[in-house]
Amino acid sequence: MNNILKAKNLKALIGIILIYVIVQALIMVGIVDDYYQILLVMICLNIILSVSLNLITGFTGQFSLGHAGFMAIGAYVCGYITVTVEQEFSFLIGIFAGAIAAALVGILIGIPTLRLKGDYLAIATLGMAEIIRIIILNVEAVGGASGLSIPQYANWTWVYIFTVATIVLIKNFINSTHGRACISIREDEIASEAMGINTTRYKVIAFAIGAFFAGVAGALYSLYFYFIKPDQFGFMKSIDILVIVVLGGLGNIHGSIIASILLATISSYLQEYPELKMVIYALVLIVIMILKNKDMTKFKKFITEKILRRQTAV
């Protein structure tokens, strides 16, 4: 078993490095220009956000509509530190400070609210994110409504490193006994508790880890896009992340990655159709959701009828 794991790990490692080398080469020859780099960074940030939300909502089953709130904390704490400290690599301190601050807030808010179920939890987390945003809006030290400008420290390489780290760490977590404990809460909270799992603790852990990486994404966002404003972290941002998670599949990390790429690509194409952009986006969303639900059973039936039958014939 261990050997298989290692072979798989090696393959993944080669893949990760290969992607980086290829992109870097394309940047060098100018095929990937500034614009594509922004697109890549957006995709990576969405991956971090959706994978971390997937841990909370997809794996642990806690419906959260407040991910943008954690992102905001990461972005602002990091931005503020980077601007005030102004030393080389202060931005790295900023990223970790932002992530830890987000995780702390996650724990603080998670302990009382995670008793709530389903839609009630969703609305409580939405409220929490709004409270965070409103507080930031009123803190003049970080610019309030007019926003905060930050030197651009992060580049595509940094963002890529953090994205890979996020995916690897969260995957490792999920495939451990702690991850299984989280998943069991999603499956059946009562049974999970009866099997000896401290469900409150694991919900808070999942929430904190999710918040931590949302904080990382927020921090990187502030460092790459060098300008942050409270309204970038509103309710719709949380929804955007949730859309990616559901589109890619709850509890499916690869799905989140693919959906991040897909949605970023779609919306970059749509920039050129300003008037109908959102209408098309909305339609695409509805149609994908319907097809996703519908064709699965048909698809499976197709496989059994066409492929399995063929097997028996052979």
Binding site: Y120, I123, V243, M278, Y281, I290, N293, K294
Partner: protein, 293 residues
Amino acid sequence: MTQFLQQLINGISLGSIYALIALGYTMVYGIIKLINFAHGDIYMLGAYIGFVCITYLGLGFVPSLIISMILCAVLGILIEKLAYKPLRNAARIAVLITAIGVSLFLEYGTMAIVGPTIRTFPQVFPQSRFEIIDGVVINVTQIYILLVTIVLMILLQYIVRMTRMGKAMRAVSTDQDAARLMGINVDRTISFTFAIGSALAGAAGILVGIYYNSIDPLMGMIPGIKAFVAAVLGGIGIIPGAMLGGISIGVIETFVSGYGSSLYKDAAAYAILILVLIVKPSGLLGKNVREKV
């Protein structure tokens, strides 16, 4: 004291608007457990339909109201059939995402047709206001809205509790298959629910359009969320809860603005919501059912 009374009136009238929208929200939720994000946008369309009726067709208030309610009901049924029905057996969160899609579609579809700028509603009611006691004023439209909300709440409660259709709705809400076995047409019942919920949104749209006399394609977003919050605060799925939740949010916001800082009124409303949920996890009027094991 004068100021306190005036603020109370302000709070109740703002709250009755939230309640009016929350009624439809809660009703749809109560039956199919769907947070219908598009509800706020149907409210917006209700306002636009009313606007067209009054401004371009020159109709009076009552016919405009009826047309708006009917068209919204039809639209509600259509949305349900096209977007939600194919997902009847899907995970609830998937339907939620579809509802968000529908919401965006309505918002930006409307924007593509009428443009993003606001339109102003003509004055249909006389702009009269009473001075109840010295310095405390109340607007006629405010009274209308409050009355309409109360009447609709009672009517809805009657429909759901007393009528045959209401029984069917409740049966469908607990167990669709069992309801089918009773001979209940589940699809029709759900359509009916959407029709009523959307008609309510339409009514709300036109009333609020008249009250504030400015409408725009994104006007449904914030009241939609506030109404949702109100419904949850009162206990989602419970009709009087929507009323209670709506009025509470309105009064909280008003008093926080009036006596504290208006900067934190939304934050205060959310904070109170969270506090209430921590004490009563299923809202003010919600029953605290623990799953029977």
